[in-house]
């Protein structure tokens, strides 16, 4: 109980005492009046009125006189309380008027907030649309890039197949060429060996010619000696002289034949040497054949490298394709995240509806306040309005937010699976 209420209680107590005294006095007056029944010269009405006045006045005067100090103090307190109450009422009236005016001003305030939200949503949607346009361009480019990559993959596969086929074909050709080259080299080595043997044979004939020539010379000398001996023998050696002449002629012819054979052998030797030179040259050209074989080997390596490069290129194209598909996946994710705009729009639209509802409720309250004789009762209040929102929510997140702030059963599962196929 505050000070003001204590003072009021005290004043009320004193007044109650006075009322009780008044009642006692009136009761005494009643007794006196009932005991007075004899006639008198004074009119009864006057007697009664005077008696009543006196009897009522006297005790009251006595009481008030006896308590005039307390009454004075009580009246002072009542006066002070009245003044205080008047100030309180004035202040509350001022507050009430201020609130009433302020409540009426809630309309432009809430309307501004409503439009601010609408503007923010509009800007957000415009920017999101711009973002979607960009993503759309990216999407188109991505599709085109995907087509190019698909073509590259197909081209790469075809190229790889052609390369593999061509490499195999070239490999077969190279193998045949190598075999031919080996065969040719073998023939050349065989030819050179035969010529070398021939040259050796020819060289081996030279001493035989010398032997023949030497034999021819010795035969000639022998024939000369035989002729001398035949001349010395006279007629007996005449026949022998003929033989000796024949032998000398034979020797001359043998020498001549040996010389001729020697020349022919020399000629043959020169030809053999020429052939040897040619064979040597051919063998030297075999060195060029080795270079050719080296070239073939390098070509084979190059083809292998080319085949490997082709494979790597194809793998690279596959990697690009995989990377591109991953990019497309990210793009699809981004497209999904953009849908938050629609989710946010719906939530903000609900907030806008709530703002309008709040504005209308406050305006109705101010109207009711102005209505004469309003008893203070109203069909709706913020509590009922707030509770009604629970049935209006579309998203589980809205319900959860509401229950988290306003209190409620959060234990229940308010969410639904994101994907349900029936």
């Amino acid at each position: 109980m505050n000070g003001r209420e204590l003072r009021l209680h005290s004043i009320r107590g004193r007044l109650a005492v006075r009322v009780a005294i008044g009642f006692l006095c009136n009761a005494l007056l009643g007794v006196v009046l009932s005991s007075r029944q004899q006639p008198t010269s004074i009119p009864n009405w006057l007697w009664i009125a005077g008696t009543l006045a006196l009897l009522n006045l006297v005790p009251l005067l006595i009481v008030e006189w006896a308590n005039w100090k307390g009454a004075k103090r009580a009246i002072s307190e009542m006066w002070a309380f009245g003044q205080h109450s008047l100030e309180e009422v004035s202040r509350e009236l001022a507050v009430y008027k201020t609130i009433k005016v302020d409540l009426k001003d809630c309309k432009p305030y809430i309307d501004v907030m409503h439009e601010q939200i609408a503007g923010a949503m509009s800007e957000s949607e415009r920017e999101i649309m711009a973002l979607i346009e960009q993503l759309n361009l990216l999407s188109v480019q991505t599709s085109q890039q995907m087509e190019r990559i698909t073509q590259s993959v197909q081209g790469g596969k075809a190229l790889s197949e052609v390369t593999r086929s061509r490499v195999e074909q070239n490999q077969r050709l190279i193998s045949r060429l190598e075999a031919k080259l080996d065969e040719q080299a073998g023939e050349m080595r065989g030819n050179y060996e035969q010529i070398r043997l021939l040259a050796d044979d020819v060289k081996a004939l030279t001493p035989i010619i010398q032997i023949i020539s030497s034999i021819a010379k010795q035969t000639s000398l022998l024939a000369l000696n035989a002729g001398i001996e035949a001349a010395r023998a006279g007629n007996a050696g005449r026949g022998f002289s003929v033989v000796a002449n024949e032998v000398r002629e034979l020797s001359k012819r043998s020498t001549s034949a040996a010389a001729e054979i020697g020349e022919k052998l020399n000629a043959t030797a020169r030809k053999v040497e020429e052939k040897m030179a040619e064979a040597q040259q051919a063998l030297e050209e075999k060195h060029g054949l080795d270079e050719l074989q080296q070239l073939v080997s390098d070509l084979t390596e190059m083809q292998k490298d080319f085949s490997h490069s082709s494979k790597l290129q194809l793998e690279m194209v596959f990697d690009v394709e995989a990377g591109h598909r991953q990019g497309v996946s990210h793009l699809l994710e981004a497209m999904g995240h953009i849908q938050f705009q629609d989710v946010m729009r719906q939530r903000m639209e609900h907030v806008q509806e709530a703002l309008v509802e709040m504005r209308d409720h406050l305006l109705r309250l101010t109207e009711m306040q102005d209505r004469p004789g309003w008893d203070g009762l109203f069909d709706t209040n913020f509590k009922t309005l707030q509770e009604a929102h629970l049935s209006k929510y579309r998203m589980a997140s809205q319900t959860v937010t509401h229950l988290t702030v306003a209190g409620g059963d959060l234990g229940a599962d308010h969410s639904r699976p994101a994907i349900e196929l029936f």
Binding site: T142, L331, L332, Q339, Q341, M395, A396
Partner: protein, 124 residues
């Protein structure tokens, strides 16, 4: 030939987002801003292989549209997916009763949307 999907949503951002996702998936995409526009397109001869529709739309909502689409000749069996923020079980059950094939809750990633659609349109 690419299969055709009709997207029905009053949100332009949703239409663009889902359209781009499905285009990336190789589908031909048609759009409608509400159920009535979708019905008009179907009556005009559009033959989609699948419909993706929002639920809460002006003029004609998704549930009403599903019921009317299923009553159209030749539109009884192709899949109709809802894509909505609506999580109320009663509406989902009503959608199922009216002939919806599935209930998808926004937001959904393009990958997941394509997976569901490929499941419903094999060979696409």
């Amino acid at each position: 030939m690419a299969k055709t999907i009709l997207i029905v949503d009053d949100s332009v951002t949703m239409l663009m987002s889902v359209k781009n996702s499905l285009s990336l998936g190789g589908y031909q995409v048609e759009t409608a801003s509400n159920g009535q526009v979708a019905i008009d397109k179907l009556n005009a001869g559009l033959k989609p292989n699948l419909i993706v529709t929002d639920i809460n739309m002006p003029v004609m909502g998704g549930l009403e549209m599903i019921g009317k689409v299923r009553a159209l000749p030749g539109c009884r069996f192709f899949p109709i997916l809802t894509l909505t923020t609506e999580s109320e079980a009663a509406k989902r059950d009503e959608g199922r009763r009216l002939g919806a094939t599935g209930w998808l809750v926004k937001p959904i990633s393009g990958d997941n949307l394509l997976k569901v659609i490929k499941q419903l349109l094999p060979g696409a």
